[in-house]
C-alpha cells in the first residue's frame, strides 16, 4: 500500500513534468522597479516627475549607473592594446558586454555584434557598405532600395544619400489609415531589382509593431537583404534575430536603460565578412604599410578608434537588468499599460490618436493631437505639471505629413510606467484644454 502511494508521488526524476506545464509569465513588481530608478524621485516644477518620454531616451536604473562608476573608478584602461592589468580588465568588460548583447538578441556569436555610437551609425554603416562594397554589396542604376513611410529619419536619409550617390532608386511602403504598414504592395515593391529592404520593427511615432514574416520571405525569394530598425523594439519586446528573418538589425543603448553613445549593429556573420570597412583608423586593421592596409575581421573591422568602452559596459549592465526583469514580463507590463492607455485617451475630448487604436500589434507609444492646440503648447503645459512627453515630428516627418499634421504629442512608456501616470497625463490634458480652450 505504502509502495503504491509512494509511486504516485513526484520523485526527483519526474520533476520535468511540472516544467513542461505552461509557466505563468513573470510579472513586473512596478513599485520595486521604480525604486531602481533614482531620477523618478525628483520633482519637476513642483510636481512628482511623470516621465512619459522613454521612446526618446530611457532613464537609467541604479545597476547601470553603478556599472559606469565602477568601470571608471576601478577598471579604466584602453581596450585591445594594453598588456597591463587595467587594460586587460577593460577589454574583458568590453568583450563581455558584447557577449551579453549577443545573447540578449539571440545572435549566433558575439562576433555578430558591432558596437556603434547609436542606431543611426549602425544603419549608415550598412548603407555605406552598399556604396563601397562588391558583389551583393554594390548598388547602381537599376538597383532598388526599399524602405517605408513609417521610418525615423535615420532609416530614410542614409538610403537617400546612397541612392543619390549611386544612381539606385529609393522606393517605399506606405502606411494605412489605421497606422499599419501597407503590405499590399509587397510584390510590386520588392522585386529582383531590390538589393535591400530596410524598415522599422516598431514605429517610434505610431507605436506599430510591424510583422516581419511576409517581407522576409519575399526578400529571400528575390535575393534581397533585410535590415530592421529595432531601436524601439529591442528595449520593449523579446527580440530574437533568428525569428525575425532579418540580415541586419540596429538598436541603441540609451533607449534600453543603457548610456548614450553606444549602439549596436547585428549582422549575419557571412555578410559582415563581405562588407568593406566603414571608418578607417586604429583597431580596425590587420597590418598597415605606407602603401596599403589590410583589415581586421568583423566586428573589429567596423570599430575604428577607441570605442565607447564604459558605455558598452553600461549597456551590458542594462542587458543584465532587463534580463533580470524578464523581457516577457516587460512586454506583458507594456501590453497592459497599452490597453489601459487606449481606453484612457479615448475619454479625452477632441483627442485624435495617430496609430493603431487597438492593443494588438502595437507597443506603448501614443502620438496624438488635440483639436486647435499645437503640440508644443501641450508639451509646455504638461511640463508645468511635471509630465514629460515629446512634441514635434519625432524625426519621422513623412509620418506627420501622411496624416496632414506638422507635429504630434507623444507619450511613451517603459518598465517603471504606472496606470496612475497615465491618469496624470489625462488630467494634464484637461489642464491644457483649460489654457487653450
Amino acid at each position: 500500500m505504502a509502495t503504491v502511494e509512494q509511486s504516485r508521488l513526484p520523485g526527483p526524476g519526474t520533476s520535468g513534468v511540472a516544467v513542461a506545464l505552461p509557466a505563468e509569465p513573470r510579472r513586473l513588481d512596478v513599485a520595486r522597479v521604480r525604486a531602481d530608478f533614482p531620477i523618478l524621485d525628483r520633482e519637476v516644477n513642483g510636481h512628482p516627475l511623470v516621465y512619459l518620454d522613454s521612446g526618446n531616451t530611457s532613464q537609467k536604473p541604479r545597476p547601470v549607473l553603478d556599472a559606469l562608476t565602477e568601470h571608471y573608478t576601478r577598471h579604466n584602461g584602453n581596450v585591445a592594446r594594453a598588456v597591463h592589468t587595467l587594460g586587460t580588465e577593460a577589454t574583458e568588460a568590453y568583450e563581455g558586454a558584447r557577449a551579453k548583447v549577443a545573447a540578449f538578441v539571440g545572435a549566433a556569436s558575439p562576433a555578430e555584434i558591432v558596437f556603434t555610437k547609436n542606431s543611426t551609425e549602425a544603419i549608415n554603416l550598412v548603407a555605406n557598405a552598399f556604396r563601397n562594397g562588391t558583389g551583393r554589396f554594390r548598388v547602381g542604376p537599376g538597383d532598388e532600395v526599399v524602405i517605408s513611410e513609417m521610418e525615423h529619419h535615420s532609416n530614410i536619409v542614409p538610403w537617400q544619400l546612397l541612392c543619390d550617390r549611386t544612381g539606385a532608386t529609393l522606393r517605399w511602403f506606405g502606411i494605412t489609415a489605421e497606422g499599419r504598414l501597407d503590405e499590399s504592395t509587397l510584390d510590386d515593391l520588392v522585386t529582383n531589382r531590390t538589393k535591400i529592404v530596410s524598415y522599422v520593427h516598431m514605429s517610434n511615432i505610431l507605436g506599430t509593431v510591424n510583422p516581419t514574416a511576409r517581407i522576409a520571405a519575399r526578400a529571400r525569394e528575390v535575393g534581397a537583404l533585410v535590415m530592421l530598425d529595432c531601436s524601439q523594439s529591442v528595449p520593449h519586446l523579446p527580440v530574437d534575430v533568428a525569428e525575425l528573418g532579418a540580415d541586419f538589425i540596429a538598436f541603441t543603448g540609451h533607449k534600453m536603460c543603457g548610456p548614450t553613445g553606444i549602439g549596436v549593429l547585428w549582422g549575419r556573420s557571412e555578410l559582415l565578412a563581405e562588407m568593406p570597412p566603414f571608418l578607417g583608423g586604429g583597431s580596425m586593421i590587420e597590418t598597415v604599410t605606407m602603401e596599403r592596409t589590410t583589415y581586421a575581421a568583423p566586428p573589429v573591422r567596423f570599430e575604428a578608434g577607441t570605442p565607447p568602452i564604459a558605455q558598452a559596459v553600461g549597456l551590458g549592465a542594462a542587458v543584465d537588468y532587463l534580463t533580470g526583469l524578464g523581457m516577457d514580463a516587460v512586454r506583458r507590463h507594456e501590453e497592459e499599460l497599452t490597453a489601459y492607455a487606449l481606453d484612457a485617451l479615448a475619454t479625452v475630448p477632441t483627442l485624435r490618436l495617430f496609430g493603431p487604436a487597438t492593443p494588438v500589434g502595437r507597443g506603448g507609444i501614443f502620438s496624438f493631437g488635440l483639436t486647435g492646440i499645437h503640440p508644443h503648447d501641450i508639451g509646455q503645459v504638461l511640463d508645468a505639471h511635471g509630465i514629460a512627453v515629446r512634441v514635434g515630428h519625432h524625426c519621422a516627418r513623412p509620418v506627420c505629413a501622411r496624416y496632414g499634421v506638422p507635429a504630434t504629442t507623444r507619450a511613451s512608456f517603459y518598465v517603471h510606467t504606472t496606470t496612475a501616470e497615465i491618469d496624470a497625463l489625462v488630467r494634464g490634458l484637461d489642464q491644457v484644454r483649460k489654457v487653450f480652450g
Binding site: 509646455q380 503645459v381 515630428h393 506638422p406 507635429a407 489654457v435
Partner: protein
C-alpha cells in the same frame, strides 16, 4: 516657473485672434520679397512677405503653421512693424531679439516693443525662444531680399 508668465493673456489673444494674418498681394510699385523659415526641431513654419516702398514697410503679411508662441509672435510683429520706416522697424526687431536672447534678464521697453513685452516670460524657456524668433528671422531675411533686389523679391 508659473505657466501664466509664459502664456500671458496678451500673447494668447494674439494667438486666438491674429492681426494681419494671410499673405496679401503687395501694393503696386513696392519692392517685394518673402522668406519661408522652418523650425527643424518641431516642423513649424512661417512665410513672411514684405513690401518696401519709399523706405517704409508698406505691408507685412504672413502665413504659417505653429504653436501659440510662434503664431502670436508673427501677429505682434505685424502690429509693431507694418507701415513703419525701415530703420525704426530694424530697431524694434533688434530690441525683440535682445529680449528673447536675454534669458529673462532683459527688462523690455514697452514704448519700443508694445505687446512684444508679453514675450518676456518666453525668454526664460530656451526651448521656446526659437518659436518666438521664427517670424522675426523670416522677416529680417525678407527685408534684406527686398532691399537687395529692388525690382522683384525672391523666395526661399
Amino acid at each position: 516657473m508659473q505657466l501664466d508668465q509664459l502664456y500671458q493673456e496678451v500673447l494668447l489673444d494674439h494667438y486666438k485672434h491674429p492681426h494681419g494674418r494671410g499673405l496679401r498681394e503687395p501694393p503696386a510699385a513696392a519692392s517685394v520679397a518673402e522668406a519661408h523659415h522652418v523650425n527643424p526641431t518641431c516642423g513649424d513654419e512661417v512665410t513672411v512677405r514684405v513690401a518696401v516702398s519709399g523706405g517704409t514697410l508698406a505691408d507685412i503679411s504672413y502665413d504659417g503653421l505653429g504653436c501659440s508662441i510662434s503664431q502670436a509672435s508673427a501677429s505682434v510683429l505685424y502690429e509693431l512693424l507694418h507701415g513703419r520706416a525701415y530703420p525704426d522697424a530694424l530697431a524694434v526687431h533688434d530690441a525683440f531679439v535682445a529680449l528673447m536672447s536675454g534669458r529673462g534678464q532683459v527688462e523690455p521697453d514697452v514704448t519700443v516693443l508694445g505687446d512684444g513685452v508679453a514675450f518676456a516670460g518666453v525668454a526664460r524657456y530656451p526651448a521656446r525662444v526659437t518659436c518666438a524668433l521664427l517670424p522675426w528671422m523670416a522677416f529680417k531675411d525678407a527685408v534684406a531680399r527686398a532691399l537687395g533686389n529692388p525690382t522683384i523679391g525672391g523666395t526661399a
